[in-house]
Symmetry: C2
Subunit: 775 residues, 2 copies
């Protein structure tokens, strides 16, 4: 039976359920040093001096590094460049003359135990001259506190069509003003890195998350003036990545630098407070969008202005989030004209980066809130309005005349109307809406909202996979893809198993180090199944061909008469006859003078893939919300998602991605944001204050996987599902809240808090229920 398309279990679940997972905190070496970061306690100040003497007095402290010690270490650059010059806004690995956010690294202590390191860090004296922090984006070019930098790091501009004509022709113009507060990914496992200098081989070995291992390796090698091969990155298991883990942070560079400098293993495991202060944060946008609409509800053009509050510095992802917001706001709709102007603003807050759904979630929020406003203003049913504006399948591939993520925004494939129809049918969405209407009529605050999303996934890049077969018939897969819980090992095993003709549990997938797989664009942007999966497919096809040719030589049977089933090669048209075990064949092909079948060296094969195209998975999210009239609390009992991933290698895992994304989307839409006080101090620096959704808040999620529009970008037709689920939740919930409250445009700011809702409810003239019923 084929493996691809079946919701098979992950064979490596047992490892994690048994507590055997190999996370970065599980890596340890004798004589290792523990690194503790001394962080700025204020949001903006001149850094006058750092007194490290008291720390050295503590037994067990080996070294304290300040900016002076790393003066020749440059700031970490931008991985995803969009051409903007961002040098001036990059974060120094340790603050030198100014601190610009609460949590900014100022010094690191390296000590024999974590406790000593932590105690010593508290003894270090920071001499600071506080300055007025900039806590919200400002249009002012001049910064009194930070005269060297100004307040804006970059602008983003994208456009197509004639916007003037569109607005000129419009029957009506609809405008929305929106904002989404700060959020951040909270993986179960915080950040961390272990580095060990091997003096014998003159190699720096690093253990950590594999999101961007190869780029990180290159940067570290350059900074430490080492050959590329002298930095080896070993990808560890990851307890949730979500875009935040595995980027190269100043702390990571300090771990690598200290390990090389001191010749002892260095280990840094972040605590939760540090994670909330210093890991990349996200969202924090404000947007103003105007739509030009004709008499039939067709959107002629959209004009968008937005700001992204980047925080204190630009990190590895540069302007990517802003760029994606600009590129993806048009979404599935066939607008004739579009203009987006985005501003990347600097403030004295934690730097921002990507968080699952980066840019696309913000774009969906802007676009779908705008669509709801248009629906309200035109009186057209919101779903009908969307349907009218969706790009027709005949337009595919649809070139949007823009670029992002290094290539054209050309939707690869899509049957948008069909997905709306199928999802509506499957979940009887009309019934869902009628039922909510009925309950509202009964006085309950219940609403339904929908959002159509287009994700961007698997952008331009490269991947390479190596296969080999051993004497037991085990098929080994070495890949750069990092297992982050998404199940990439299982997907690859399924793809390879079908092509090679073995059970998927005989396929052993290893996340290779950076020597084994020297080039990879990383495990990010929903790219692994599409890119690594395709490379694995190509490798498996080459391996199959080699197997059949070699077996043909051994069995003296033409290759095209042979087949492979259950790890055995036999004649396709016979039930009896010669049978060769895959392991036997592998043994016969082992290289050497006694190689029995002279067919290349060993039973192995490589596969690679290079693409310049991006894939565009899409889906419809429908959320049902209930509001507690007494507390204002919004809950989400049900979510329905129809989603087209092109080809679902393992529907169980795709569904898991979607469900996880939905829950994470609820957090962003409804739970508390990562705000700051008037002095720039974080309001929420622990998980008691920063409320994450628990099982109690998780809705029933129903998923319809659709495979109507396989992607032409890769031979498997995969579109990618890593960001799926989250992208559409914010606008769907916002629309549902509007619906529940009967106030279109109420949910203009995320998160929608209970306090906001209570303000709205209290502002209403309270009507007795009996009267409402009688009206």
């Amino acid at each position: 039976m084929k493996h691809v398309g079946r919701p098979l279990r992950r064979p490596d679940d047992a490892v994690h359920l048994d507590g055997r997972g190999g996370f970065v905190a599980d890596v340890a070496f004798p004589h290792q040093l523990h690194m503790r970061v001394v962080r700025s306690p204020v949001a903006c100040a001149k850094l006058v001096g750092v007194d490290t003497e008291p720390a050295y007095a503590l037994p067990g402290v080996v070294a304290v590094l300040t900016a002076d010690d790393v003066a020749h270490v440059p700031p970490i650059g931008v991985r995803l460049s969009t051409g903007a010059s961002l040098e001036r806004f990059l974060q120094p690995v340790l603050a030198a003359t100014m601190v610009r956010y609460v949590g900014e690294p100022v010094a690191v202590v390296l000590a024999d135990t974590p406790a000593v390191a932590e105690d010593a860090a508290e003894l270090i004296g920071l001499e600071l001259t506080p300055l007025e922090p900039q806590l919200t984006p400002t249009d002012s070019d001049v910064s009194a506190s930070d005269p060297l930098r100004g307040n804006e790091a970059a602008t983003v501009f994208k456009a197509f069509g004639n916007l003037n004509t569109a607005f000129h022709r419009a029957e009506r113009i609809v405008e929305v003003d929106l904002a989404w507060g700060r959020d951040g990914a909270m993986p179960l496992e915080t950040r961390g890195l272990v580095a060990r200098w091997d003096g014998a081989s003159e190699t720096l070995e690093i253990w950590g998350a594999g999101r961007a291992a190869h780029w990180n390796r290159d940067v570290i090698a350059e900074v430490l003036d080492l050959p590329r091969s002298a930095v080896v990155w070993h990808t560890t298991d990851v307890g949730g990545s979500f875009g935040v883990k595995g980027e190269l942070y100043p702390e990571d560079m300090l771990v690598a630098y200290a390990a090389r400098l001191l010749g002892r293993p260095v280990r840094w495991i972040e605590d939760r407070r540090e994670h909330l202060l210093a890991a990349n944060q996200a969202r924090d946008i404000a947007a103003s969008a105007r739509a030009a609409v004709d008499s039939s509800g067709l959107i002629l053009g959209v004009d968008l202005i937005f700001t992204v509050d980047q925080g204190a510095y630009v990190r590895t992802e540069g302007t990517m989030v802003a760029d994606l917001i600009a590129a993806m706001t048009p979404g599935p709709y066939a607008l004739g004209a579009y203009r987006a102007r985005g501003h990347l603003k600097l403030t004295n807050k934690t730097p921002a980066g990507s968080f699952r759904g980066a840019g696309r979630a913000e774009a969906a929020f802007i676009r779908e809130r705008l669509m709801d406003a248009v629906a309200h203003r035109t009186g057209i049913d919101p779903m009908e309005l969307r349907r009218r504006n969706l790009i027709d399948p005949s337009e595919m591939p649809a070139d949007r005349g823009m670029e992002t993520l290094g290539s054209a925004v050309t939707y690869d494939s899509g049957r948008y109307q069909s997905l709306v129809d199928a999802t509506t049918r499957r979940f009887s969405l009309d019934v869902v809406r009628r039922r909510a209407q009925h309950r509202r009529a009964q006085g309950e605050l219940v609403g339904v909202g929908a959002a159509f999303v287009v994700d961007a996934a698997a952008p331009a890049g490269y991947e390479h996979v190596k296969l080999s077969v051993d004497r037991r018939g085990t098929v080994d897969v070495i890949t750069a893809a990092a297992e982050q819980g998404q199940g990439i090992r299982t997907l690859l095993a399924q793809i390879v198993a079908d092509i090679v003709g073995v059970d998927y549990r005989r396929v052993r997938v290893t996340a290779g180090d950076t020597v084994q797989i020297p080039f990879s664009a990383g495990t990010l942007l929903s790219r692994s199944s599409a890119m690594v999966g395709t490379a694995a497919q190509h490798a498996a096809e080459a391996l199959r061909e080699k197997i059949l040719a070699a077996a043909a030589a051994m069995l003296s049977v033409p290759a095209d008469k042979l087949t492979i089933q259950g790890g055995r090669i036999r004649q396709a048209d016979r039930h009896f006859g010669a049978i060769l075990d895959l392991g036997e064949l592998a043994a016969a092909l082992e290289p050497g003078p006694s190689q029995r079948v002279p067919h290349g060296f060993a039973l192995d094969a490589d596969g690679s893939v290079t693409t310049a195209m991006t894939t565009f998975p899409y889906g419809l999210h429908v959320a049902v919300v209930e509001i507690d009239r007494d507390t204002g609390l919004v809950s989400v009992p049900s979510v329905y998602v129809g989603y087209d991933v092109g080809n679902a290698i393992n529907p169980g895992l795709v569904e898991a991605q979607l469900v996880g994304g939905v829950v994470q989307g609820i957090a962003s839409a409804l739970h508390t944001a990562l705000g700051v006080t008037g002095t720039g101090d974080p309001l929420r620096a622990n998980l008691a204050d920063y409320a994450m959704p628990t099982a109690r808040e998780a809705p029933g999620v129903e998923v319809l996987l659709i495979e109507e529009a396989p992607s032409p970008a890769n031979t498997l037709g995969i579109k990618g599902a890593g960001d799926a689920g989250l992208t559409g939740m914010a606008p769907a919930i916002a629309a549902a809240v509007d619906d529940a409250l009967g106030v279109v445009g109420f949910a203009r700011q995320l998160p929608v808090t209970a306090a906001d809702v209570m303000r709205e409810l209290k502002a209403r003239v309270p009507l007795p229920l009996a009267l409402v019923g009688a009206a």
Copy 2:
């Protein structure tokens, strides 16, 4: 300037001089267990019981394993099979019912510290019923003490020509009876292994010597029922290998097994006493050789019978040593007929294996002692006699009609007479001999002896090398070759540097693990420079071609107009014009959609080599000895070696091999043997009793490297030099001792001890010196 052929320094010397070498004892992990082996205190006994209880009482003891615990672990098999069935003679990983030598592993303790492990091991009670040990090889088929096994493990038979006719036609028959006592290699670093089970990746990682890493991996994977890729062998630095280190011993298997069983890292570092009791020993042969000689001193035939005292068990090398003795005794001489019958005898001594020069040193001793006897009996000068019998270059390649090491004994190339001439000339050997004669005439006991040797090297096998270039222009070489101090990294860097056109210090050579290079026949039998060097040559040629083709595309200049010098690519016929740095080119070829030159993926290349031929390096050894009349001590003030290695990539390193071999050969010829008492207890179990040569005993060694006969077995013409230097020392010293004492055939038994010499001197009628002078 070219690198090949120059005595360049090893770039990795600094690592070792600074104490940064990465030896197995430098590998450690948190929570590791230390393994201590409980060894048999007697040479032969029934093992009635093992009481482990007292050991468990010691805090820190985690486990004690006895034969019962490893009942399903089979004995380690034979790597170098010659067809003989040796199953019954293999060593169990732990003794079950009998112990058969002092030092045999009976149990292992695994504890938190080495001290606890050692203390606990001493508490373990062995219930033994002593039996009469067999301490010398016997012809009796029946063994009273060991009825299940008999006394002989295997026989070896090789022959060519008509021996009866040869002896029938002979003018005289010359016979010698010879013996060589037990010896053993004493590397600076004892044996050791570290194994760590990684539960997350379900992989057993092993750190240890890389002599036969791939075979060891395969055996361990099979025993532990794991896929091949689930056992990864990391080759550590080695403090001298000499054939004894890196073979798979019972102790190694126990380390691997315990690490898997207990899920904790296990570390075993042998102490010197264990090394002297339990590591493979060597030599310990007795031989009777008869030569049929015609009137002109031509050897018509040789009939050889010999025994090898294998000790208690057959280990990984099976019958290799005996096989090589049989195959290599004819050496450089054009005998018409030959027969060798060898017996691998079992005794209650430490098992034997290979030691540098394995089989070839014994063969040289037998052959060259026989030649000296023939010279004496025919009255022909020993060197003249040898010269007459040498194979003529016109006979090359010379098929000897035998097989060994898996392929034909066909001498690849050789100009033997020419080497004798060149060596004689260079070192004025006639003067050396006359001077000794003169000194003898003055009453000194001074002698000169010579031996001509043919080694066998780089037998049938396979190697693979991977190259890549990074953005700095560093050329990376990944190979399975283990650095054992021989300088293989430097040799490979030289070969690659010349072909690619970079300085050899820009070439970074890494001993890859068994995942990076999945197949290799190991670092043994003088094969690395010939095999890995050739694979590196092929890889470098492929890389050069790729560089030129890609550069041609980038520079728009035909590839054949380009050259590479000092890491820069430029037009060969111009001093000015476009120049491209190798690193720049590598960057341009990095894979991905932005790859600037569409020429394959990345700037890398592979090379491999498979051979079914063996190489046969050869040389002339001349030793000068002086005997102290009062103590009988033999010293070796001078040694002269002329040696043809085909192609000396780095003459400095070849010379170092030869000098090291010479000193090691002196130890074997003159220093104390690893004898046992009448109960089978080792006479020498520490380095005070077992006297190794020191700098004081090291002679002045003069080396003439000859490259007259490049090997046709590989494209570099390399013959290999890893065993060189040692092979001829025993017969050269024996002949010199005879010469000094004026007693041809005195040195029939090695080592020649001071006691032997004193007995001889005392047996003579003491003549006053004045009388001798007057005679």
